[in-house]
């Protein structure tokens, strides 16, 4: 019983982190058809900005509760600045190129962002645990969990609901869904597709940075974290169906629960479990669980 509860909470916690880290990746792919490897760079920039800002704030001796505000702020600044720079500075000159070429381009950008991170913050790791412990722990049937973990789960749910609301209940969202469906028809109907590309890319970058920023207080932020997350994020969006926001949520939950179950029930299969699930899903649904249907163009 206790193990089942632990698997549920741990699975949710891991899934929330995965969803926050990967939803920007699937959003960008859905709209722009770009598998954005640079997403790992946005995640790392968010994590570094957050850890650096919290560390700096902590030295002032000010109330820790306000350090929570630095997390979204750091994500917003890092994602906005880097997203705009990458989209306006590089990608806008590459639109319409082959998808494989775009993967290579974003991979190059990822490498540049990795080096930029080292140039800004050095090669040393940063720890900024203060927000993670500020609210203490809650015992879930004898197993303590930090309140911060539940904050991350809540933020993931809020982000999911917000994205659903914006996409399905607002004019901008509906236009975006049209662009996702067919960008050529959208352009023909007078939608400014280029503008949507810019906004989508920046929003995706901010979401990637948010994934890193909110994780920073729980980990040691160090060079290389962007590469780790891009692999996991890719697994999540492939399972869910590339380009599907709902798919990213389901994919994150599947991976989160698969990993948590493995850790609790059969630890040697911990790493293997994620890719086993991915292989199993792709064997049945080659384009993922919620892949958007694509019309065949002649």
């Amino acid at each position: 019983m206790l193990t089942a509860i632990a698997i549920t909470v741990d699975g949710l916690g891991f899934a929330a982190w995965l969803f926050l880290s990967s939803v920007g990746l699937t959003l960008i792919y859905g709209v722009m058809r770009i598998l954005n490897i640079a997403h790992g760079g946005f995640y790392a920039l968010g994590a570094y900005s957050s850890a650096w800002a919290i560390g700096l704030y902590a030295t002032t001796g000010s109330p820790i509760v306000f350090s929570f505000l630095l997390i979204p702020l750091a994500a917003l600044i890092a994602g906005l600045a880097s997203g705009l720079l990458v989209e306006r500075g590089v990608l806008k000159f590459m639109y319409g190129r082959d998808e494989v070429l775009m993967v290579l381009v974003t991979y190059a950008i990822f490498l540049i962002l990795e080096d930029a991170t080292k140039l800004i913050w050095g090669t040393e790791s940063y720890v900024a645990w203060q927000p993670a412990f500020h609210f203490g722990t809650i015992d879930v049937f004898d197993i303590p969990y930090t309140v911060y973990k539940f904050i991350i789960i809540s933020v993931a749910i809020i982000v999911g609901i917000a994205l659903y609301f914006v996409l399905n209940k607002t004019r901008v969202g509906k236009l975006l869904l049209v662009v996702i469906e067919d960008r050529e028809i959208s352009a023909a109907l007078g939608i400014n597709v280029t503008k949507f590309f810019t906004v989508t890319f920046v929003v995706g970058a901010v979401l990637g940075a948010l994934g890193g920023a909110i994780t920073a207080p729980e980990i040691s932020v160090s060079p290389g974290i962007g590469a780790e997350i891009i692999v996991l994020s890719f697994a999540v969006i492939v399972i869910g169906g590339m380009g599907s926001i709902g798919g990213a949520m389901i994919g994150a939950l599947i991976v989160g629960f698969a990993r948590a179950a493995s850790v609790h029930l059969y630890p040697p299969a911990e790493l293997f479990s994620i890719y086993l699930v991915m292989a199993a899903v792709l064997a049945v649904k080659p384009y993922g669980l919620f892949a958007l249907a694509e019309s065949r163009k002649i």
């Binding site: 206790l2 193990t3 632990a6 698997i7 909470v9 741990d10 699975g11 916690g13 891991f14 982190w17 080292k118 090669t123 040393e124 790791s125 720890v127 645990w129 993670a132 412990f133 722990t137 004898d142 197993i143 303590p144 969990y145 930090t146 911060y148 973990k149 994780t215 729980e218 980990i219 040691s220 160090s222 060079p223 290389g224 974290i225 780790e228 990993r259 948590a260 850790v263 609790h264 630890p267 040697p268 911990e270 790493l271």
Partner: protein, 429 residues
């Protein structure tokens, strides 16, 4: 046109001649010994491990060149030659290619460094193949000389392997915790983590056969997120939780585990953890058992060499040295000791002198007594963590020191056989 070409040709000849004349005296006067230094300069291991190790290499080599090291290392250079360095990043996807480049393109005379057992497993056969004097400073898996290179000629390791850390940890736990009946572990899923857990669990079983294992976790190295593993350990409630985590993974485990009460529910033993003391301070719960892989960091002996190292390191880098700094320094001193003893900077002569050598480092006496004189044994120590809020610094108390003969297997005996056989031949003072 011909006149112009003739002038150019004369000018070029004159320049070449000048260069040759200019270069000749310095080549004749200054013999150099080129050392390739390999350390994590990026990635999760850079901050707590790689940078301190690189700093120590710079400090020791500069002092050796200037002849300002304390006795018996107070002669300038290595075997009379000035030392030059090429520093490369261990955090590379092409470790073997980097090694080959150091040997064949950079023309190094010796290579020191490597922190990860994964790196060392890859490099060990390469060092023998390329016949290059290579001294591993940090990596700990016993497999290096017990399975991978069983007849070493060019490869050395100047630090005891993981068996020492885990036999000593087991002795400390059994000696200081009378009521231990269950153990659990969280170790990285590769040679270092697997060997560490194997040696610790076998040693505890050998010392107290009533102890049982309840939960063992092996997450991927550099995973960063250990929420599920910590829950599993909290659920199992072993009396002791053992971990050989190091670098950024160690820091993440401390942050996540202490925040959730793991350190209060179980006695946590961290075999390679002094690196976290200056970085996490009060975040490490008091009472945590701290290891430094030898008499390093808080366990360093009070010798002239150790005190010089601590002061020189602090003066230059503004922070106290942690174990990877001691371990890197030890590997460079090993080469210098062998070179000075044989009065030669020839790598072939140095490797002959280094095999079986006993030398002094800032961490005490080092005996190259295992693996035909290529693997060191040293003493080690464990203690419990105590954070002093007044000074803002962490320290260790309840320290127990274990002599090299007590926690290292004898020559020609494998680690597992030695532990399972009840530590036959161990001499504990």
């Amino acid at each position: 046109m011909n006149k112009t070409m003739k002038k150019m040709s004369t000018l070029a000849s004159a320049m070449l001649l000048t260069t040759a004349i200019g270069a000749a005296p310095s080549t004749a006067q200054e013999e150099t010994f080129k050392v390739g230094v390999v350390s994590f300069l990026s990635g999760p291991a850079a901050g707590p491990f790689g940078i301190p190790a690189r700093n120590a290499a710079e400090l020791i080599i500069d002092a050796a060149n200037a002849g300002t090291l304390p006795a018996p290392y107070n002669t300038a250079g290595i075997g009379g030659a000035q030392i030059s360095t090429v520093v490369i990043d261990e955090n590379s996807k092409q470790k073997n290619a980097d090694f080959v480049k150091l040997v064949e393109k950079d023309g190094v005379d010796a290579i020191v460094g490597y922190a990860s057992s994964g790196s060392c497993k890859a490099i060990a056969p390469e060092a023998e193949k390329l016949k290059t004097l290579t001294v591993f400073s940090i990596c700990g898996t016993p497999q290096i000389f017990e399975e991978i290179v069983t007849e070493p000629q060019y490869l050395f390791r100047t630090l005891s392997h993981a068996t020492m850390d885990n036999v000593a940890a087991a002795r400390y736990v059994v000696e200081t915790m009378g009521d231990v009946s269950t153990i659990g572990g969280i170790n990285q899923n590769y040679a270092w983590g697997q060997d560490s857990w194997r040696d610790f669990s076998l040693s505890v079983a050998s010392l107290k056969d009533s102890v049982t294992e309840t939960e063992t976790q092996f997450p991927k190295i550099f995973a960063g997120q250990y929420g599920s593993e910590i829950s599993a350990l909290l659920n199992a409630k072993p009396d002791v939780v053992h971990s050989s985590f190091w670098g950024g993974d160690l820091e993440a485990l401390i942050i996540q585990g202490s925040g959730r009460g793991l350190f209060g529910r179980s006695q946590v033993v961290l075999t390679s953890s002094d690196t976290a003391i200056p970085r996490l301070g009060a975040q490490i719960p008091d009472g945590t058992i701290i290891g430094a892989r030898g008499l390093n960091g808080p366990y360093a002996p009070e010798t002239e060499l150790a005190e010089w190292f601590q002061k020189a390191y602090f003066d230059r880098f503004g922070t106290e040295p942690v174990s990877p700094a001691y371990q890197m320094a030890q590997s460079i001193l090993a080469i210098k000791a062998a070179a000075d003893q044989s009065n030669s900077s020839d790598p072939e002569v140095i490797r002959g002198a280094l095999a079986g050598l006993t030398f002094e480092s800032m961490s005490g006496e080092v005996n190259m007594s295992l693996a035909n004189g290529h693997q060191a044994i040293t003493a080690t120590a464990y203690g419990t963590y105590k954070f002093d809020a007044a000074s803002g610094k962490g320290t260790v108390e309840n320290v127990r020191t274990y002599s090299a003969g007590c926690v290292n297997p004898p020559a020609n005996v494998g680690s597992v056989d030695w532990i399972k056989g009840g530590f036959e031949g161990a001499v504990c003072e």
